[in-house]
Every structure is written in C-alpha cells, then in structure tokens.
Symmetry: C2
Subunit: 414 residues, 2 copies
C-alpha cells in the first residue's frame, strides 16, 4: 500500500470517528473539580501556547478579569502584576481537553459544561459564553455576570442535567442546523431548544423558585447560550480523531489573539502556527475597524467538526452579524467541500437539498487548492477593558497548513 | 382620479393595515365563552359555507368526532344521524372571526386561542392543532387528545397568558421567519420560542406541578403548536383589511374539502369559490395518492398575510414534508412577488438578503399573470375515520380570482 492509500484510509478512519461522535451534556461543574490538571493558581486560555508578555490586550484583560473573579487580586494593577510575575500558570485549554470562547479563560471556580462523547467515552469542557469578560472587559458588571453564572445559573442547570441523567446534544444540533443556526455565532434555535429541554428537569429537580425563574430567564434571553455547549461538543467529537497515523485531517483550529494554530491527526500534539489574521466584519456602534484585535478563541473547533463557516449557506440569518450576502454564504459552504474529506451523514442542510455538512479538513487539499477554512467569528478590542465590539469572517492562515504538510512529509514520506 | 388610481390607493391602505397588524395572544378560553354567535348546538367548520350533504369524508369525520366530544351523541351512528338531521348548526369559522386547521371544527366547549390585534382592537380565534380529529379521525385516541387539551393544557396555558398579561406574537413570528419556519406547516422555531415564552409565567401562575409538567411536555413535544397561534394571528391581521372600497386585495383564502373560497377587500362578505384542488404531496407510509381528499382548511390565512407558501424559499426544511427542491422553494417565493402589492417591512427572509415577505394578493395580478397563490398544506383522507395522511403543495384555483374580478368589474367599473 502506497502512502497515498495509507493517508486515504487514515482519513476515512478520522472522519468515521468524527461522524460517530455522540456528545451528551453530562454535568456542569466548577472547572477545578472536573478538568484534568487544572489546579492551584492556573488559568486556561484560548489558542496555542503563549506567554503573558506576548498576549494581546483583550486576552490580558480577560485574564485580569478572571484573576479578580477568583479573588487572587483585589485591583486591576494587582492582578496585572500577579499575572506578569508568572505566579499564575497560563496554559492552553486544548492541553486540558477544554475549549473556551474568545480569550477562553477558565479558572478553577468557574463552572464549565462537561460533555461526554458517548461513542468513545472521552470528555471535553467549555465555559459559558458571555459578551464581556471573555472579550477582555474586567468591569464590575462583567464580573457580576460571571458570579451570576457561578452562583445561580450553573448550579440550577446542573441540577436539571443530573435530574435528566444527561442531555443528548446531537438531536439539538441536528435540528438547529435545519433551523438556520450554523452553531458558531448563530445559536438562536439551539439555545431555544436547549432551554426547552432543561425546563422540565429543572422543575423536577426542585430548584428553589427564585433561582428557577432567574435561570430560565437567563437561558431564554441568551441567544448564544448553546455556543459553550457546541464548543464542548465539538471538542468531544474531535478528540477521538487525534493521533491516527498517516491522517492529514485537522483536529483543532484555534487562536490566541496573537497566533492562529492548528493540530493534525497524524502529527500528534504539535501546533502549526502563523500570525492571527484580521477579521473582516461589522462593528457595534461606537467601534470601528481600527479598534479591532486579531482573531481569537477556541471556537473554530466548530468549523473543525463541520459547523460554523462550513454550513454558512444554511444559516443566512447570521449575515446581519458578520456581513455578506446569502449567495456568498452558499458559496462558502460549496467551497469548503473542496478541502474536506466527506459530508456528514446526519448534519444536513435544507438549503442544499439536505446535503451533509462538509467534514474533515484535509491539509493536503488546503495546500493544493489554496482554499483555507472560512470561520465566522466575533471581534474583540485590541486593548483590554472592552466588551464585544463586532463580528465577521476570517480565513485560517495558509501558512499553518503549509507548515503542517511539510512536517507530514518529514514524518511519513522522507 | 381614475379607477386604477383608486384601486392602487385602496390597495396601499389594505397592505398598510396588514403591515400594522400587532397580534397578541390575549386568552385561551372555551369557544362558547368568547366567539361571537357561537352558542347552543353549533359547530364551526373550515372554508366557505357548505351543507352536511356536500361535505367530504374527512370533514364529516371531524364533525362526528367533535359531536362525540361535546357529548351530543354517544355513538358514531347517533352523531351522524344528528348531524344529518340539521339539528346542529354548521357555520363557517370565517363568519365568526375564527379560523380552524383542516376540518377546522370548533364547538362551544373546545378552548380556543384568542388573539387580539392591538393595532386595531379586533379579535380572532383559532383552535389547537393536532393530527387526528381535525383530519376526520373520531377514534377514542383522537377524542382523548381533545380532552387533554380542554382539561389540562389549555387551562395551564391560559393561566400563563393571564399571568403575563398577554403574549406578543409578532416578535416570535419575526424571529421564526429567520429560523426556517414558514408558519404554515413548519413551526419548529415558533413553537420552541412560544414554549419558552410561556414557561416562566406558567410557573409564576402556580399551575399545580403535575399539570405544569404535562403541559410543558405537550408544548415542547408539539412542533406544530404554534400553527393555531399563527392562524389566529393571521385572521386578526387580515380582518382590518376587509371592506376597503375599491381594494382588490384578498382578505381570506380557505377550503372546506369540497370548495376553495376567497374573499376580497372591496367585495364585502361574498365568497368566490371553485372546486377544491388536489394536493401534490408526500404521503405517510401506508397511504397513497388515491386515498387523498381534496384541499381543506382555513390555514391558507397564513398565505393571505404573506407566510406559508409565500416565504417557502426561506424555509427549505419543510421540503421533507411537502416535497420539492430548495431551488423550487426559492422560485415560489420569487413568483409570489408578481401577484402581491408590496413586501412586508418586518417579516424578513435571510435567504433573500433580508427582503420582506411578498404581501397582499392582488386579484388583478393573479388574473393578468395566471400565477395563482402557492399554498403548502397537509393532506386528509377522502373518507372519514383517518388521521393525517400526508403533506404537499397546492395552487389556489384561478377560477376564484376570475369570478372575483368579474364581480369587481360589475361593482366598480360598469
């Protein structure tokens, strides 16, 4: 069997594992109690590894916020000094089976979604999504949001999850993809369906009425509620496809606001990085292009498993957030079929006569065609202290794929 | 001002009233307590007026079912004899500010949605949607469904509506149209959003827990739940556009399984009818085309106000139910723009770059172009005693529009 056949077989195995993924929300619990290796003064962040000194403003702001939230410092200056001192370990989420939106900060007392891939038994974690602290805002209002999540919403939702014996996410994902969600930045349907799914077990779990009503209000009013679940599901689905010898399928794409990094199944834990790109997008009133930081977040795990930009053609409702036309959205999805191994047999798009989502990014195809993955994403400020400032579209840098393919050649061909 | 200018002005007024429509769910109450003129032994039915002797099998079956439900007869034979005797008054829903899905049967003790158009103060009514009795099935299971609605779900939902002081439907409709619903046969998003909107007030209203959980379960599991609300909303929106002198805009389209009828704003209460057409569709396993009755139901009130077939291009998820391709669905919506007065400024379709729904069917344009309204609908059996057997697409008969235009000529031009 020649190397080409070996690669094709390995890639079939990789996408077969992605297809089998069966993500179930098993728990919501403080990160320090469930994430392997997260202990003491440690904060997990989005993207490939990066020291404090190289971090962008938004990620620094988010770290300051979460340090204050943990009570490890009592002022912004104190938090900044502590973080610069190296006394708080900063590690990538992806090194701990986790992912996080935007700056991605996860600290021990922050409750996270625990998603189990019941087809393989592995677990993945993601934090809740909000529009302030994860973008670098460390204001009192931003921290109050984290405390509400920790003290009110997360425990009530956890009680419902325990009562239900877990919430299967694949049925919600499958339906939402047929209801105009692309599961990266548009989660209107999935969030509504998830709130439906939790209401009955939350009542059955006897959550006290004020907390019950506050939590239902939070869930019903939060149209990106499901993003944290989609990301944890994406990570849980992607991880079993890691470490397949000879596979050229991408198993992670993420950004820390400074660098964009990818991992490839046949290439182990190595990160292949390039400078994080600028996002082409639309801005919240009061902000403009000059204010924008570079691409950031682990949320491109959604594109890694075939959602987000890859199914944009089925989710034109998102164009109010990221710009562009319905025809362009359809074209992006068609284009992604050129760089993927197969179509997902269950994640179907009505706008394409129920064709499946393009699945399994093949670094060979990316380099051969020059077509890079399209990602729809939010935009953070280039400086710390701001909430979300916009949303848009971005292309993964070709250099990541070229570097990975070069290493693949060294490892398997030479 | 010549007659053409007068018509254009009148039609602008008609669509302006349709656009202003602001439907709010104000109550859910037994029909006999809220629907004007519904008293004693009276049953309302779908479509234009029709005597028992001319009714199709499915409508007869539904009338038998609702007669048993009311306790006016204790056997099918007894119910049939009673209905044939003329001792139960049978009148069209549309003559009582009401609409009903399929056979459309509304009897005094059946709770109905009460929707108020807050822009004009008028009210409209529609019954709950289910897949059995309204299709002509009078089995014990079908009747048990009506009793559950009357005794459990409707009172619990009514308590929530009272607690909330009414539920505004326009925000739900607007969102659902951007989430792949067309609001005639696909209500996945609207039903999910509506269930969430009712959960908090239903808890606050202290509905007893078993009833609360059963009702939440009913709402969450019923993906056509919102159809009854969309129909009541459609009727509430359409009625203020009636009786505008010189207007050629359609204010109702409905079918009784034997005849298809339309009403036109400038032509008062007159029905312009033609034989009900056959539906071109897909069948539930075990049934086939030969089993199908003709087109039936008041649900084409949704197309009358710009939803259903008119926004099919934005709701390709429905094609699994009615057949066809995404490109055909887009083409239907484009085609409907040729026979309508304007675009709705709030009911937007992402798939058409947020263009508005085609609004206000002009009988002149229908006759001039030969393009008739496209309606997506469910299919009942041609004989009584069956549940839903399929779904498909149907065209309103051109003859209705020709007859109406002829009368318009007599009334305004000659």
């Amino acid at each position: 069997m020649d190397i080409k056949q070996q690669i094709d077989l390995a890639n079939q195995e990789a996408v077969s594992r992605l297809i089998q993924g069966d993500p179930v929300l098993a728990d919501i619990a403080p990160a320090g109690q469930v994430i392997p290796g997260l202990q003491g003064r440690m904060i997990l962040h989005a993207g490939p590894p990066i020291p404090w000194s190289a971090m962008c403003g938004a990620m620094r702001g988010a770290l300051i916020g979460i340090t204050l939230f943990e009570g490890w410092a009592s002022s912004v200056a104190e938090a900044e000094a502590l973080l610069a001192s190296g006394e708080v370990s900063l590690e990538p989420n992806h090194h701990h089976q986790a992912v996080g939106p935007m700056a991605g900060t996860i600290s021990p007392s922050l409750p996270v979604f625990v998603v189990e891939n019941r087809a393989f038994g592995n677990r993945a974690f993601c934090r809740n999504v909000e529009g302030m602290q994860q973008f670098g805002d460390y204001s009192e209002k931003a921290l109050a949001g984290l405390r509400f999540w920790r003290d009110v919403a997360a425990p009530a939702m956890a009680a419902a999850v325990h009562q239900a014996g877990g919430i299967s996410l694949k049925p919600i994902i499958t339906q939402a993809l047929q209801m105009g969600d692309e599961l990266h930045n548009r989660h209107s349907a999935s969030s509504s369906l998830f709130a439906n799914a939790l209401a009955i077990p939350m009542i059955q779990a006897s959550v006290p009425q004020p907390q019950l009503l506050q939590t239902l209000g939070y869930m019903i009013g939060h149209n990106l509620l499901f993003l944290g679940l989609a990301m944890a599901a994406g990570k849980a689905i992607a991880d079993p496809a890691r470490d397949i010898a000879c596979s050229t399928v991408v198993t992670a794409m993420c950004r820390n606001g400074t660098e964009f990094g990818i991992r490839v199944s046949g290439l182990g834990d190595e990160w292949f990085t390039a400078p994080a790109p600028k996002v082409d997008g639309l801005y919240v009133p009061g902000y403009r292009e000059e204010d924008a930081g570079l691409d950031m977040g682990d949320s491109a795990i959604t594109e890694t498993v075939g959602w987000g930009g890859f199914v944009l053609g089925g989710a034109p409702g998102i164009l109010t957030l990221v710009g562009g036309t319905a025809e362009q959205a359809l074209a992006y999805t068609r284009e992604m079929a050129h760089i993927t191994v197969t179509r997902h047999p269950h994640y179907l798009m009505p706008a394409f006569d129920f064709e499946g989502a393009p699945l399994g990014i093949d670094i060979r195809k990316v380099v051969q065609t020059g077509i890079t993955p399209i990602i729809d994403t939010a935009i953070a400020h280039r400086e710390s202290g701001h909430p979300k400032i916009g949303g848009g579209l971005v292309r993964a840098p070709l250099a990541c794929f070229k570097k990975a393919l070069a290493r693949f050649g060294q490892k398997y061909v030479s």
